[in-house]
Subunit: 150 residues, 2 copies
Protein backbone atom coordinates (compact mmCIF):
# COMPACT_ATOMS: atom_id res chain seq x y z
CA UNK A 1 0.00 0.00 0.00
CA UNK A 2 1.39 3.40 -0.96
CA UNK A 3 2.47 5.66 1.88
CA UNK A 4 -0.24 8.16 2.72
CA UNK A 5 0.49 11.85 2.96
CA UNK A 6 -1.72 14.64 4.31
CA UNK A 7 -3.29 15.11 0.87
CA UNK A 8 -4.46 11.48 0.84
CA UNK A 9 -6.74 11.82 3.87
CA UNK A 10 -10.29 13.08 3.36
CA UNK A 11 -12.75 14.43 5.88
CA UNK A 12 -15.03 11.57 6.91
CA UNK A 13 -14.67 8.06 8.22
CA UNK A 14 -11.22 6.62 7.58
CA UNK A 15 -11.93 3.06 8.61
CA UNK A 16 -12.00 0.55 11.45
CA UNK A 17 -8.78 -1.04 12.62
CA UNK A 18 -7.82 -3.83 15.01
CA UNK A 19 -8.68 -6.16 16.76
CA UNK A 20 -6.80 -6.46 20.02
CA UNK A 21 -7.80 -9.10 22.56
CA UNK A 22 -7.46 -7.78 26.13
CA UNK A 23 -6.14 -10.28 28.68
CA UNK A 24 -6.20 -10.22 32.49
CA UNK A 25 -2.44 -10.78 32.51
CA UNK A 26 -1.79 -7.68 30.40
CA UNK A 27 -4.19 -5.58 32.48
CA UNK A 28 -2.39 -6.56 35.69
CA UNK A 29 1.08 -6.18 34.18
CA UNK A 30 0.37 -2.65 32.94
CA UNK A 31 -1.21 -1.72 36.26
CA UNK A 32 1.74 -3.02 38.28
CA UNK A 33 4.03 -0.69 36.37
CA UNK A 34 1.88 2.39 35.76
CA UNK A 35 -1.45 2.40 37.59
CA UNK A 36 -1.49 0.22 40.72
CA UNK A 37 -5.10 0.80 41.74
CA UNK A 38 -7.08 -2.21 43.06
CA UNK A 39 -9.52 -2.41 40.12
CA UNK A 40 -6.60 -2.87 37.70
CA UNK A 41 -4.33 -5.10 39.80
CA UNK A 42 -6.27 -8.00 41.20
CA UNK A 43 -9.62 -9.72 40.49
CA UNK A 44 -10.67 -10.06 44.11
CA UNK A 45 -9.73 -6.54 45.17
CA UNK A 46 -11.43 -5.23 42.01
CA UNK A 47 -14.76 -6.84 42.97
CA UNK A 48 -14.90 -4.62 46.07
CA UNK A 49 -14.54 -1.41 43.99
CA UNK A 50 -17.38 0.54 42.32
CA UNK A 51 -16.42 -0.89 38.92
CA UNK A 52 -17.13 -4.39 40.29
CA UNK A 53 -14.34 -6.38 38.66
CA UNK A 54 -10.95 -6.25 36.98
CA UNK A 55 -10.68 -3.60 34.26
CA UNK A 56 -7.86 -2.00 32.32
CA UNK A 57 -6.27 1.28 33.36
CA UNK A 58 -7.56 4.06 31.12
CA UNK A 59 -3.94 4.76 30.17
CA UNK A 60 -3.55 1.12 29.16
CA UNK A 61 -6.54 1.52 26.84
CA UNK A 62 -4.82 4.60 25.38
CA UNK A 63 -1.74 2.46 24.72
CA UNK A 64 -3.74 -0.33 23.07
CA UNK A 65 -5.55 2.26 20.94
CA UNK A 66 -2.21 3.77 19.89
CA UNK A 67 -0.93 0.37 18.80
CA UNK A 68 -4.05 -0.37 16.75
CA UNK A 69 -3.80 3.03 15.06
CA UNK A 70 -0.06 2.65 14.44
CA UNK A 71 -0.53 -0.72 12.76
CA UNK A 72 -3.74 0.37 11.05
CA UNK A 73 -2.55 3.47 9.21
CA UNK A 74 -0.13 5.70 11.10
CA UNK A 75 3.11 3.77 10.45
CA UNK A 76 2.31 3.82 6.74
CA UNK A 77 1.70 7.56 6.70
CA UNK A 78 3.77 10.72 6.77
CA UNK A 79 2.76 11.29 10.43
CA UNK A 80 4.92 13.79 12.32
CA UNK A 81 3.26 13.08 15.65
CA UNK A 82 0.79 15.16 17.61
CA UNK A 83 1.23 18.08 19.99
CA UNK A 84 -1.27 16.49 22.35
CA UNK A 85 -4.77 15.18 22.74
CA UNK A 86 -7.80 17.45 23.02
CA UNK A 87 -9.85 15.10 25.14
CA UNK A 88 -9.91 11.54 26.37
CA UNK A 89 -13.27 10.09 27.47
CA UNK A 90 -13.35 6.83 29.41
CA UNK A 91 -16.93 5.73 28.82
CA UNK A 92 -17.06 2.12 30.03
CA UNK A 93 -14.69 -0.38 31.67
CA UNK A 94 -12.41 -2.46 29.45
CA UNK A 95 -12.55 -6.06 30.66
CA UNK A 96 -10.47 -9.20 30.11
CA UNK A 97 -11.81 -10.93 26.99
CA UNK A 98 -12.84 -7.71 25.25
CA UNK A 99 -11.70 -7.43 21.65
CA UNK A 100 -10.94 -3.81 20.86
CA UNK A 101 -11.09 -2.13 17.50
CA UNK A 102 -10.68 1.54 16.62
CA UNK A 103 -12.93 3.59 14.35
CA UNK A 104 -11.01 6.58 12.99
CA UNK A 105 -12.78 9.63 11.62
CA UNK A 106 -11.21 12.76 10.16
CA UNK A 107 -13.41 15.58 11.46
CA UNK A 108 -11.48 18.34 9.73
CA UNK A 109 -8.24 18.95 7.84
CA UNK A 110 -6.21 22.16 7.65
CA UNK A 111 -3.00 23.16 5.99
CA UNK A 112 -0.43 24.62 8.37
CA UNK A 113 -0.24 28.41 8.13
CA UNK A 114 3.39 28.58 9.19
CA UNK A 115 4.86 25.48 7.51
CA UNK A 116 4.10 24.79 3.84
CA UNK A 117 5.30 21.19 4.22
CA UNK A 118 2.77 20.30 6.97
CA UNK A 119 -0.92 19.73 7.41
CA UNK A 120 -3.20 18.83 10.31
CA UNK A 121 -5.96 16.24 10.71
CA UNK A 122 -8.53 16.71 13.47
CA UNK A 123 -9.03 13.05 14.30
CA UNK A 124 -11.71 11.32 16.35
CA UNK A 125 -10.75 7.85 17.55
CA UNK A 126 -13.42 5.59 19.03
CA UNK A 127 -12.40 2.39 20.80
CA UNK A 128 -15.15 -0.21 20.43
CA UNK A 129 -15.55 -3.73 21.87
CA UNK A 130 -16.75 -6.82 20.01
CA UNK A 131 -20.25 -6.27 21.39
CA UNK A 132 -20.29 -2.72 19.99
CA UNK A 133 -19.78 -0.76 23.22
CA UNK A 134 -17.72 2.39 22.76
CA UNK A 135 -15.33 2.29 25.74
CA UNK A 136 -13.17 5.31 24.95
CA UNK A 137 -12.93 8.26 22.60
CA UNK A 138 -10.08 10.66 21.95
CA UNK A 139 -9.74 13.73 19.77
CA UNK A 140 -6.37 14.92 18.61
CA UNK A 141 -4.73 17.05 16.00
CA UNK A 142 -2.31 14.92 13.99
CA UNK A 143 0.53 16.54 12.04
CA UNK A 144 1.38 15.00 8.68
CA UNK A 145 3.89 15.93 6.03
CA UNK A 146 2.46 17.00 2.68
CA UNK A 147 3.51 15.17 -0.46
CA UNK A 148 3.73 18.52 -2.25
CA UNK A 149 4.47 21.61 -0.12
CA UNK A 150 1.94 24.41 -0.59
CA UNK B 1 -0.66 9.65 56.81
CA UNK B 2 -4.47 9.83 57.13
CA UNK B 3 -6.45 8.98 54.01
CA UNK B 4 -7.48 12.13 52.17
CA UNK B 5 -11.07 12.72 51.16
CA UNK B 6 -12.47 15.38 48.84
CA UNK B 7 -12.83 17.80 51.77
CA UNK B 8 -9.10 17.57 52.47
CA UNK B 9 -8.00 19.03 49.14
CA UNK B 10 -7.80 22.81 48.77
CA UNK B 11 -7.64 24.89 45.63
CA UNK B 12 -3.96 25.69 44.98
CA UNK B 13 -0.73 23.79 44.62
CA UNK B 14 -0.94 20.32 46.13
CA UNK B 15 2.73 19.45 45.90
CA UNK B 16 5.48 17.93 43.79
CA UNK B 17 5.80 14.17 43.55
CA UNK B 18 8.33 11.72 42.07
CA UNK B 19 11.06 11.25 40.84
CA UNK B 20 11.10 8.65 38.08
CA UNK B 21 14.28 7.99 36.12
CA UNK B 22 13.54 7.30 32.45
CA UNK B 23 15.68 4.61 30.82
CA UNK B 24 16.27 3.78 27.16
CA UNK B 25 15.26 0.18 27.87
CA UNK B 26 11.88 1.20 29.26
CA UNK B 27 11.26 3.61 26.37
CA UNK B 28 11.94 0.86 23.82
CA UNK B 29 9.99 -1.78 25.73
CA UNK B 30 6.87 0.42 25.96
CA UNK B 31 7.20 1.36 22.29
CA UNK B 32 7.52 -2.23 21.15
CA UNK B 33 4.19 -3.02 22.80
CA UNK B 34 2.18 0.16 22.28
CA UNK B 35 3.80 2.75 20.00
CA UNK B 36 6.27 1.25 17.52
CA UNK B 37 7.35 4.47 15.83
CA UNK B 38 11.06 4.87 14.98
CA UNK B 39 11.75 7.70 17.46
CA UNK B 40 10.62 5.49 20.34
CA UNK B 41 12.05 2.14 19.22
CA UNK B 42 15.66 2.53 18.28
CA UNK B 43 18.45 5.10 18.84
CA UNK B 44 19.76 5.06 15.29
CA UNK B 45 16.37 5.20 13.58
CA UNK B 46 15.37 7.97 16.01
CA UNK B 47 18.31 10.16 14.94
CA UNK B 48 16.85 10.33 11.42
CA UNK B 49 13.49 11.67 12.70
CA UNK B 50 12.60 15.33 13.37
CA UNK B 51 12.96 14.77 17.13
CA UNK B 52 16.61 13.84 16.54
CA UNK B 53 17.02 10.98 19.00
CA UNK B 54 15.29 8.38 21.14
CA UNK B 55 12.37 9.75 23.14
CA UNK B 56 9.47 8.24 25.06
CA UNK B 57 6.04 7.72 23.55
CA UNK B 58 3.70 10.43 24.80
CA UNK B 59 1.47 7.63 26.13
CA UNK B 60 4.44 6.22 28.04
CA UNK B 61 4.90 9.62 29.68
CA UNK B 62 1.20 9.52 30.62
CA UNK B 63 1.78 6.13 32.25
CA UNK B 64 4.83 7.35 34.17
CA UNK B 65 2.87 10.43 35.31
CA UNK B 66 0.02 8.20 36.47
CA UNK B 67 2.41 6.08 38.55
CA UNK B 68 3.98 9.15 40.19
CA UNK B 69 0.54 10.55 41.01
CA UNK B 70 -0.71 7.18 42.32
CA UNK B 71 2.26 6.80 44.66
CA UNK B 72 2.27 10.52 45.50
CA UNK B 73 -1.29 10.99 46.73
CA UNK B 74 -3.97 9.14 44.77
CA UNK B 75 -3.64 5.68 46.35
CA UNK B 76 -3.94 7.30 49.76
CA UNK B 77 -7.09 9.20 48.82
CA UNK B 78 -10.76 8.46 48.31
CA UNK B 79 -10.28 8.68 44.52
CA UNK B 80 -13.10 7.17 42.46
CA UNK B 81 -11.26 7.62 39.16
CA UNK B 82 -11.82 10.13 36.41
CA UNK B 83 -14.25 10.17 33.48
CA UNK B 84 -11.45 11.32 31.21
CA UNK B 85 -8.78 13.91 30.58
CA UNK B 86 -9.57 17.37 29.28
CA UNK B 87 -6.29 17.87 27.50
CA UNK B 88 -2.88 16.35 27.17
CA UNK B 89 -0.04 18.60 25.95
CA UNK B 90 3.23 17.03 24.85
CA UNK B 91 5.57 20.02 25.10
CA UNK B 92 9.07 18.57 24.80
CA UNK B 93 10.64 15.14 24.21
CA UNK B 94 11.24 12.87 27.22
CA UNK B 95 14.74 11.43 26.87
CA UNK B 96 16.65 8.56 28.49
CA UNK B 97 18.24 9.88 31.70
CA UNK B 98 15.47 12.40 32.41
CA UNK B 99 14.19 12.35 35.97
CA UNK B 100 10.49 13.14 35.97
CA UNK B 101 8.51 14.68 38.76
CA UNK B 102 4.89 15.84 38.79
CA UNK B 103 3.58 19.14 40.11
CA UNK B 104 -0.10 18.81 41.01
CA UNK B 105 -2.36 21.84 41.30
CA UNK B 106 -6.04 21.89 42.20
CA UNK B 107 -7.51 24.56 39.91
CA UNK B 108 -11.06 24.22 41.20
CA UNK B 109 -13.20 21.97 43.38
CA UNK B 110 -16.93 21.34 43.13
CA UNK B 111 -19.39 19.19 45.00
CA UNK B 112 -21.37 16.81 42.78
CA UNK B 113 -24.91 18.05 42.15
CA UNK B 114 -26.35 14.58 41.65
CA UNK B 115 -24.39 12.56 44.22
CA UNK B 116 -24.05 13.89 47.78
CA UNK B 117 -21.23 11.43 48.47
CA UNK B 118 -18.97 12.73 45.67
CA UNK B 119 -16.90 15.75 44.78
CA UNK B 120 -14.71 16.79 41.86
CA UNK B 121 -11.22 18.25 41.64
CA UNK B 122 -10.17 20.08 38.48
CA UNK B 123 -6.53 19.02 38.52
CA UNK B 124 -3.57 20.32 36.53
CA UNK B 125 -0.63 17.92 36.37
CA UNK B 126 2.72 19.17 35.07
CA UNK B 127 5.48 16.68 34.31
CA UNK B 128 8.87 18.32 34.85
CA UNK B 129 12.42 17.09 34.25
CA UNK B 130 15.39 17.51 36.57
CA UNK B 131 16.51 20.54 34.57
CA UNK B 132 13.11 22.17 35.05
CA UNK B 133 11.65 21.63 31.57
CA UNK B 134 7.93 21.01 31.57
CA UNK B 135 7.55 18.10 29.13
CA UNK B 136 3.82 17.43 29.50
CA UNK B 137 0.69 18.82 31.09
CA UNK B 138 -2.72 17.27 31.58
CA UNK B 139 -5.97 18.58 33.00
CA UNK B 140 -8.58 16.24 34.36
CA UNK B 141 -11.59 16.16 36.60
CA UNK B 142 -10.95 13.70 39.43
CA UNK B 143 -13.87 12.19 41.35
CA UNK B 144 -13.35 11.68 45.08
CA UNK B 145 -15.63 10.37 47.80
CA UNK B 146 -16.56 12.86 50.51
CA UNK B 147 -15.82 12.01 54.13
CA UNK B 148 -19.21 13.44 55.06
CA UNK B 149 -21.96 13.36 52.39
CA UNK B 150 -23.54 16.75 51.78
Amino acid sequence: MAKRYWEDFDVGQLGEFGRKLVTAEEIKEFAAEFDPQPMHLDEEAARATPVGGLCASGWHTCGMMMRIVADGFLLNSSSMGAPGVEEVRWLAPVRPGDELRVRATVLDKKASKSRPDLGFLDMLLEVITGSGTCVMTTRSNLMLARRTPA
